[in-house]
C-alpha cells in the first residue's frame, strides 16, 4: 500500500499564482545568470580566441586551442589521467561507501544519525588543512616513513604518487558517496528482500536482483558527484601528487596563472565540462524520474 499512495502534486495543493514565478525563481535566476552563465560564456568565447603576446587575448577566431589539446600527447595524457584517477577514486569510494551505508541503515533508528554525523565530521575542518595533514603522514620523512625506517625498513616513496592522490581523493570525497547511497537505502523497502527470499533467492541473489537495482539511483548520484569532484580536483593532486601527478585542475592553474595562456586553459575547461556533462547525461538516461 505504501507503493501506490497517490500524492497531491504541488499544483493541486495550491493554485498557481502569477507572483510565484518571479518571486520563487528570481534569486536563483539572478545568481545563475550573472555568476554562472555569463562567466561560462566568457570561457566558451575565450576558448576560440588567440593568446596575445601580453598574456591577454586577441580577437582572432581559431580552433587551434582544441586541436592542440587533443593532439599534444602531454595534454591528452593529463586529460586521460584525470578521467582515470577520477574513475578509480569513484570506484574505490563506491566499494567502501556501499557496505558502510548498508551498515548504517541496518542500525537502530536512533543510532543512524550518529553514524551519519561521524561520516560528516571531516567536513568540519578545512580541506586544505586535512590534505596538509596527509602530507605530513606520507612525506619522505613523514609519520609512516619514520615508523618504517625506525624498524629498519626501507624508505618508501609515498608522496607524489598516483596512489597518494587516489588516497586523498577517496578520503575527501567519501561522504559525497555515502550520503546519496544512504538516502537511496533509506527509501529501499527491506521487505523486498523478504519477498525475494520467499521466491527462492538466497541473500546474494536477492541483493543482485533486487537491492542493487533499486539502490542504483543512489549509486549513480554518488558516482557523478565523486567523479566530478575528483577528476577536476586541484588541491589534492597539487599537494599529494606534486609535479609528478598532474591532473587537469593543476594544468588549468598553470595555463591561467603561470603560462598566461587563457584561451588554451578555457578550451581545456570546456572539454572537461563536456566530459562531466556526458557523465550526468548517462546518469539521467539510466535512471527514471521515479528513481531520483
Amino acid at each position: 500500500m505504501a507503493i501506490t499512495q497517490p500524492t497531491l502534486t504541488p499544483e493541486a495543493a495550491a493554485p498557481r499564482r502569477n507572483w510565484q514565478l518571479p518571486v520563487l525563481l528570481g534569486p536563483a535566476a539572478f545568481w545563475l545568470f550573472w555568476f554562472f552563465l555569463v562567466p561560462l560564456v566568457v570561457i566558451l568565447i575565450y576558448s576560440f580566441l588567440t593568446r596575445s603576446a601580453t598574456g591577454g587575448v586577441d580577437w582572432i577566431f581559431t580552433f587551434d586551442n582544441y586541436a592542440r589539446l587533443l593532439s599534444d600527447p602531454i595534454y591528452v595524457t593529463i586529460l586521460w589521467r584525470s578521467v582515470w584517477i577520477g574513475g578509480v577514486a569513484t570506484l574505490i569510494c563506491l566499494l567502501i561507501a556501499y557496505p558502510l551505508a548498508l551498515f548504517i541503515i541496518l542500525q537502530p533508528a536512533q543510532w543512524r544519525s550518529f553514524y551519519i554525523f561521524l561520516v560528516l565530521i571531516p567536513f568540519w575542518t578545512n580541506m586544505l588543512v586535512r590534505t596538509y595533514a596527509w602530507m605530513t603522514i606520507l612525506n619522505n620523512n613523514g609519520l609512516i616513513n619514520s615508523f618504517v625506517t625506525g624498524l629498519g625498513g626501507p624508505r618508501l616513496t609515498l608522496i607524489n604518487t598516483e596512489g597518494a592522490v587516489l588516497l586523498g581523493l577517496v578520503y575527501g570525497q567519501l561522504p559525497f558517496m555515502v550520503l546519496p547511497l544512504y538516502a537511496a537505502m533509506d527509501r529501499f523497502d527491506f521487505r523486498m528482500m523478504e519477498a525475494a527470499s520467499d521466491l527462492g533467492a538466497n541473500k546474494w541473489r536477492a541483493f543482485l536482483r533486487v537491492m542493487l537495482p533499486m539502490t542504483a539511483p543512489g549509486i549513480a548520484a554518488g558516482s557523478v558527484l565523486v567523479f566530478i569532484l575528483s577528476a577536476g580536483n586541484y588541491i589534492i593532486p597539487a599537494l599529494l601528487g606534486g609535479n609528478k601527478v598532474t591532473m587537469i585542475g593543476n594544468q588549468l592553474e598553470l595555463w591561467f596563472r603561470t603560462a598566461q595562456n587563457q584561451p588554451l586553459g578555457s578550451a581545456a575547461a570546456v572539454l572537461l565540462m563536456i566530459m562531466m556533462v556526458g557523465g550526468v547525461i548517462i546518469y539521467f538516461r539510466t535512471t527514471t524520474e521515479d528513481d531520483r
Binding site: M1, I3, D189, R191, A195, L199, G200, A201, R205, M214
Partner: protein, 372 residues
C-alpha cells in the same frame, strides 16, 4: 476421513525478547484446505505465518510441511510462497519479470518460464498487463500480480498475510470470492491471516481464532459462529450479548443460571460446566424475539423452553436490511436485538417506538453458557 496433513505445528513457541508472540501452539492444516488464522492485531497470527515462510524461526517446537521438518530452513529453500500485505512487488521490474522471478531463481528453462508466466497472468486476468510496471496498476491489480507471482511457483502452501486489507470494501468482497474460487480450482493449501471476521467466515474451510499467542478454537465457520467455546471467540466473531450469572442446575446439556438481577435463564452448556460455577451467557442479537406487550397484559413466554424477560425499548436503528434495537433490561443493562426487515412498509408505526414495553425471549438452545 483420513486427510493428508500439509502443515503441522507442534508445541511451537516464539519469543521476541520478553514478549511471547506464540505460546506453545499446535495446529494442523490439511491438504487443499482454505484455513484462516483470525485474531486481533498482535495476537500472533502473523508470527505463525512468518515462521511458516521462514522469516522467523520458532524458539521451540517443530514445524513440518508434508512431513519435512522446516526447523531453521531459510525461506528460499521452503516449498511455500507468500502474498504480502504490502504486496512487496519489485518496482524496477515489469509485471512479467515479477512473476518470472521465482522460476528464474529455480533456474527453470526459459521457454517453460515464459509459458508459466503467461498462464499465471491469465489465471488472475492480467494477461494484457505483462509489460506494465507495478506502480502503473491499481491496488486490486497489484494484489493479483502478487498472487500470480506466488502461485506460479506451485507452492505446497500459499501464505497470505492480510492481502485484502488495503483494498476498498467493494473490491475486497470481489477479491474474497476470486481468491476462494482460485483456491478451489488449484487445490493448493491456503493459510490466510486476517483480523476481519467476515473475510474469514466467507472464505475459509476452517478458521483458527487466536488471542494473545494462543489458538483458542479451531472449526469451520458455522462452528466458530454458532458454537464459540469461549467468551473471547463469541465476542470477537460477530456481535453478541453477555449476561453473567452462576449455574444453579444442569439437565443434560442445558444449564440454568441465576443472574445477578435474580432471574433464571437457561442455555446450552459447554462441556465441563458445573453447578455453582460463575459463567457468562452469550446470546446473539439476531437469535432473540421481541414481542410487544399491549395494554399491560402480563407477558407469557411462547413456550416453556423459552427464556423471557420484560424489557423497555430504548433506541431504534434502522439500517435497511435489519432494524437494530437496543433494549434496557430491568437490571439496567442494555441488550442488542436485530430484527430482519422481512416486511416492506413505510409506516413508522409498524416499527418499534422508544419507550415501548416489550418481552424479550429466546429458545434456550440459542443461548450459550461459557465458562471463560
Amino acid at each position: 476421513m483420513a486427510r493428508t496433513i500439509a502443515v503441522e505445528l507442534a508445541s511451537v513457541t516464539k519469543r521476541f525478547g520478553d514478549v511471547t508472540a506464540v505460546d506453545n501452539t499446535s495446529l494442523q492444516l490439511y491438504d487443499g484446505e482454505f484455513f484462516s488464522l483470525l485474531g486481533p492485531s498482535g495476537c500472533g497470527k502473523t508470527t505463525i505465518l512468518r515462521m511458516l515462510a521462514g522469516f522467523e524461526y520458532p524458539t521451540s517446537g517443530s514445524i513440518t510441511i508434508h512431513g519435512r521438518e522446516m526447523g531453521h530452513t531459510p525461506p528460499y529453500k521452503r516449498p511455500v510462497n507468500t502474498v504480502f500485505q504490502s504486496y512487496a512487488l519489485f518496482p524496477h521490474m515489469t509485471v512479467e519479470q515479477n512473476v518470472a522471478f521465482g522460476l528464474e531463481m529455480k533456474n527453470a528453462p526459459k521457454a517453460e518460464i515464459k509459458t508459466r508466466v503467461v498462464e499465471a497472468l491469465e489465471m488472475v486476468r492480467l494477461g494484457e498487463y505483462g509489460n506494465r510496471r507495478p506502480r502503473q496498476l491499481s491496488g486490486g491489480q497489484q494484489q493479483r500480480v502478487a498472487l500470480a507471482r506466488a502461485l506460479v511457483n506451485q507452492p505446497e502452501v500459499l501464505l497470505l498475510d492480510e492481502p485484502l486489507a488495503a483494498l476498498d470494501e467493494k473490491l475486497r468482497k470481489e477479491m474474497q470470492l476470486e481468491l476462494k474460487g482460485l483456491q478451489e480450482r488449484l487445490g493448493i493449501t491456503f493459510l490466510f491471516v486476517t483480523h476481519d471476521q467476515e473475510e474469514a467466515l466467507t472464505m475459509s474451510d476452517r478458521i483458527g481464532v487466536m488471542n494473545r499467542g494462543h489458538i483458542l478454537q479451531v472449526g469451520n465457520p458455522i462452528e466458530i459462529y454458532e458454537r464459540p467455546t469461549s467468551r473471547f471467540v463469541a465476542d470477537f466473531i460477530g456481535e453478541t450479548n453477555f449476561v453473567s450469572g452462576t449455574v444453579c442446575e444442569l439437565h443434560g446439556n442445558i444449564a440454568a443460571i441465576n443472574t445477578a438481577a435474580g432471574q433464571t435463564l437457561r442455555g446450552l452448556a459447554q462441556q465441563g460446566v458445573q453447578v455453582g460455577q460463575p459463567v457468562t451467557i452469550s446470546i446473539r442479537p439476531e437469535k432473540v424475539f421481541l414481542t410487544p406487550i399491549s395494554n399491560g397484559t402480563p407477558p407469557t413466554p411462547p413456550s416453556k423452553h423459552m427464556n423471557a424477560m420484560p424489557v423497555q425499548v430504548e433506541r431504534i436503528n434502522y439500517i435497511g436490511s435489519d432494524t437494530r434495537i437496543i433494549v434496557r433490561l430491568h437490571d439496567g443493562n442494555t441488550f442488542d436485538v436485530w430484527e430482519s426487515n422481512t416486511r416492506s412498509t413505510l409506516d413508522r408505526d409498524e416499527y418499534w417506538q422508544p419507550g415501548e414495553a416489550a418481552l424479550l425471549s429466546w429458545p434456550e438452545e440459542n443461548a450459550l453458557v461459557l465458562t471463560e
